[in-house]
């Protein structure tokens, strides 16, 4: 059970975020759901790099080689991913502010300018 639980949690979070995104009635809420989707990628990344009984690959307070280490590469990738997530959130929120000004609503059901 424990050997797949983290992966399943990541999948669950991703699909839950997608559900929220598709059924959202408020664009700000939709962007929050997108952030949830992205949380799934962090969880998956870090889970993939974990090793039982190991510790962080940071040698400021341990001797090199004294303890097994988890994978530093996925952590670096996750760092990049966190930054990307925050910036995308900010940019999309900026667009939503302008939508609220120009359309007078942030409900996706009421935006009907682009269709057909």
């Amino acid at each position: 059970m424990m050997s797949v639980l983290p992966y399943l949690v990541a999948v669950w979070i991703f699909l839950a975020g997608c559900y929220g995104l598709a059924t959202s009635r408020n664009l700000i809420h939709a962007v929050g759901c997108l952030a949830v989707c992205q949380a799934a990628t962090y969880v998956l990344l870090i889970a993939v790099g974990y090793r039982d009984g190991a510790t962080a690959p940071v040698h400021s307070d341990i001797e090199p080689g004294s303890r097994p280490l988890v994978d530093p590469v996925v952590q670096a990738l996750a760092l990049t991913d966190v930054v990307v997530g925050a910036t995308v959130t900010a940019l999309l929120l900026a667009l939503i502010l302008q939508i609220s000004k120009r359309h007078g609503t942030v409900d996706p059901d009421e935006l009907s300018e682009l269709r057909g």
Binding site: M2, L5, P6, V9, W12, I13, A16, G17, Y19, G20, S24, R25, N26, I28, H29, V31, G32, C33, A35, V36, A39, A40, Y42, V43, I46, A47, G49, Y50, D52, G53, A54, T55, A56, V58, V70, Q75, A78, L79, V82, V83, G85, A86, T89, A90, L93, I96, L97, S100, K101, G104, V106
Partner: protein, 86 residues
Amino acid sequence: MNDMLIAVTLLLVAATATAAVAARDPVRQALVLAVLGVALALLFTVLQAPDVALSQLAVGSALTPLLLLLSVRKVRRRGRRKGRTE
């Protein structure tokens, strides 16, 4: 027992993420997302990724909620202004 700790934090993250999707009001969602940031930071610490935990805290506990709330405030203020003029 270490597995227990990991499982607890994983379930916390999963529950908070689900709650964040279920909270349909953006203000309440922002609150849940702030908790999600902390829960993720705990998970990353437990999975021995303090670097990622730090950046998740930096982004998730103050920056993202602030951005979300400021957006909500702007949208609401517009709504109120419009309500007054109409």
